[in-house]
Subunit: 200 residues, 2 copies
């Protein structure tokens, strides 16, 4: 036995969301039908609008429904000689919310992962290299994740930078501010030691 065809279709369709199995899809469907039909309608419209119009910024690859994202279209930031490279739009958002960085970005949408078929081309590195050729930047801050793949990707791009005499830097990794040393994992502690700086 199954539910009625339209309800079954709704439940199955909800499973396209990451981490949503049959049970939670069912729960979500009941919630929407019983308590939030308006929300379901809004969601449907928002999905259609987004998949039809949201593409990638021609400069930085971040999501946008324009040719250029708001940062690349920003009169001042688009002229910045400082470029920060991140793995995902979520990382970009986190950096923006810290409010420290005022340069431009480049979003890789992943990291090098040969086994998954993700090479330089998939990360848009040819687009990036073109920007290096046009010498739009003089420093690249590598803000990929402090993982094996993130580090490898950072090194790969740093090599690319050398070719164009662009200064490549890596964001610091270490003990989080406010974090207690005794609860920080060994790998982080090791990196925080290796990256120690002179006291002023």
């Amino acid at each position: 036995m199954e539910f009625s065809p339209l309800l079954e279709k709704m439940i199955e369709s909800l499973r396209c969301l990451p981490g949503v199995g049959r049970k939670s899809a069912q729960r979500a469907a009941f919630h929407l039908l019983e308590r939030d039909r308006r929300g379901a309608e809004d969601l449907a419209k928002a999905l259609i609008a987004a998949i039809e119009h949201v593409g990638h910024c021609q400069h930085c690859r971040n999501y946008t429904e324009q040719d250029l994202c708001s940062i690349c279209a920003h009169p001042k930031r688009s002229q910045s000689k400082l470029m920060c490279i991140v793995e995902s739009p979520a990382d970009l958002l986190a950096l923006e919310q810290s409010g420290q960085f005022k340069g431009r970005y480049f979003v890789l949408f992943g990291h090098l992962s040969p086994l998954d078929g993700i090479g330089p081309e998939q990360l848009g590195l040819s687009v990036l290299e073109q920007q290096f050729q046009n010498s739009v930047v003089d420093e690249v801050v590598l803000a990929t994740n402090p993982t094996v793949e993130g580090d490898a990707t950072a090194h790969y791009i740093a090599d690319l930078c050398k070719k164009y005499s662009i200064n490549a830097t890596r964001i610091a990794h270490g003990v989080p501010v406010g974090g207690e040393l005794e609860y920080v994992d060994g790998t982080t502690l090791a990196r925080s030691f290796a990256g120690r700086t002179q006291m002023p």
Copy 2:
């Protein structure tokens, strides 16, 4: 800083789903945009179709896009004198999948909860009483959950049954089949004792 308007709208709209906060909505949006635009489109269409057409069965209140659900429209089951009352369509599905029950259902969509303003009317008990008046059933199996509210609701409906000389029974609660006694909670054990039956 926020993402582009359409992406922000997509992320916010995904939060209508139960248990989905900002972070998981963001993750879901990225997943759909990067890897499953087709799934997002299907979901949008399924949502629209469901909220436009899925309503409640006129007899049992289960979800259906017809006047009657497939069980109430079933030539044999619709004539059954046995009615099982459950709190939710998910409970109905679970019972159907056990394959034991061949009668009809009535779905309460909740349980009595005066503090939340959920009384007999919200559970469709006037519709149910009308069916009792038309004497369509002679036994009602109360399969509400074994919780304080589920029990109270079962008792309320049992009283209603008395008025119409309908036999009201409650499903058995006790140690789950295959469950080990030592891991079963005390309340369940108490109910399993109280509900003990004669060995054949």
